[in-house]
Symmetry: C2
Subunit: 341 residues, 2 copies
Amino acid sequence: MSCRRVLLWGLGAIGTGIGEELHRRGYELAGAISHQVGEDLGDVLGVRRLEARVVAGPGELAEDALRADVCVIATASRVADVEQQILWALENGMHVVTCAEEMSYPAASRPDAAELLDEAARRAGRVVLGTGINPGFAMDLLPIVATAPCLEIHSLAVRRVNDLSPFGPSVWAMFGIGLSQAQFEEGVRNGTIVGHTGFRESLALIQRVTRLAVDEVVEEFVPIIARVERRGPRGPVAVGQVAGVAHSLEARWRGRVQIRLDHPQQVDPGAEGIGTGDFIEIRGRPEISLRIEPEIPGGVGTVAMVVNAIPSLDTLDAGLVTADGMGLPARRIPEFAEGYA
Amino acid sequence: MSCRRVLLWGLGAIGTGIGEELHRRGYELAGAISHQVGEDLGDVLGVRRLEARVVAGPGELAEDALRADVCVIATASRVADVEQQILWALENGMHVVTCAEEMSYPAASRPDAAELLDEAARRAGRVVLGTGINPGFAMDLLPIVATAPCLEIHSLAVRRVNDLSPFGPSVWAMFGIGLSQAQFEEGVRNGTIVGHTGFRESLALIQRVTRLAVDEVVEEFVPIIARVERRGPRGPVAVGQVAGVAHSLEARWRGRVQIRLDHPQQVDPGAEGIGTGDFIEIRGRPEISLRIEPEIPGGVGTVAMVVNAIPSLDTLDAGLVTADGMGLPARRIPEFAEGYA
């Protein structure tokens, strides 16, 4: 078991949550790269002092911060934004786990980068793994696992209804929450409102394992307009304003729906009587109807998926490992955390 | 892809279902060992003639029946009853997949046999895998997968409520269905009524992955007495007769319930307003409440778990592989079944 020393790259809400949990589980935090430059990492995480500084870039890391077994990258969503960070970590002999959404199946958006990262990881004898709650679990791995007792699959539909109330201002902005419909449409046009990142990756994961044929993919992206006032910790959303986004993807074969992914994300859905949850419907033999209510929470879920993946890294073959290659997904605590609940 | 040719050992309801589905997916059926001696395997399976005979024992198999990549063993529940069959298949160069309940985690009942089978499999360079719906999925792998987004687990409860109506007379006898309470108690004493086989295996799988500490295991086994008449394809169960068995296991640590497995199995539970389903409750951070309603059906589910495991055999390291080591559980069809829905 060599995966005990971890370098954190990115200390936003997710990166901080990962750092706290790693500390709680007995991992050694080697250091961190983030914008809280000069602070002690323990202070940033709200744990005891760790005598590990937060620095602005990898070039400023102390010698002992480079002796990490794993680099956890929680800086961005896109392959383009984490690619160089991953290559740097591999060159320094570290495994990489990242919650960058596109990295759950990088070949879906960037086949060239996926190949390059796989080669670099093999050369370094290390693993690069992308995971998270979604993509990475709720709308891909869990429905894939639900197919295990099936002889036939005629279609597969996944619906994830969540509540954005607890999320921060950057997430609210990404969904255009509180805007008028006209402002929302302008935001979609200029690319500031992007909705969910991960449908292409989830679809690719589902298709790769189930081998369901697809010849047409239709994506929809429409604002959810508040019909009653929505309330959240960040203030209300008035009637007529954008409360969220209904994002969906339909994968068809010869006109027939094979896979449908539905992901309405909004503030305070309960105000309009909408319950949250993760719903999987498999039509086939047998039919499987699975519900998790309320939904698996996004933030803590992503932190857990990343942290729980670390004990498996040394058991996987070197290379780029996509979410479906991490073995049986599970909560896995390290050997050295003996006695930990 | 060499896993294309399969030898069937056991042609009961499950073995026959496996044979049919393998044929449908384009596998070659090399032959079968069962009591329908002398019949063409295709006739037994209800498909086209296969020019493969059913024989009474391995010594009677034709030369080409021995050239199989995989032997599927669906003959019995206990390690003791399949151990020699598995060793024979390994000696003849075949992987083994079996739905023998105890083989999902053979070390739970027979650590000596588990070690011996592992050694034999490694020596043969082949895989031995035990799987099925339960044990093998509903009450172990699926709850394990549901822990993946968890930081903490305080307790884990799994409840599987199923309907025994569609099962055959041997299953009815195993649960004492239709007996008086006194007859049931006599059957439990003389060992003819055994209830569910698999709790020890499911518990071992859950513990091995989650590492939840356990210092006391309490098993309960009580008859479910019909309070209204129950109806099924095999005739009614009268008021006052045994309609099934409520079998449960509680694994505690320092007096606290860590893992609870509940498996009431009965004929026509709907007659008393009891809905069937698979229910998983994880107390921890976050809490996960998962429901599959109705329950994943037992028969077809076990057939699917076995058949879906075959394409992964060549990707696993040689040895005894327990259900948690089969990688990501999923419906997996072979490469040569291109175009198959």
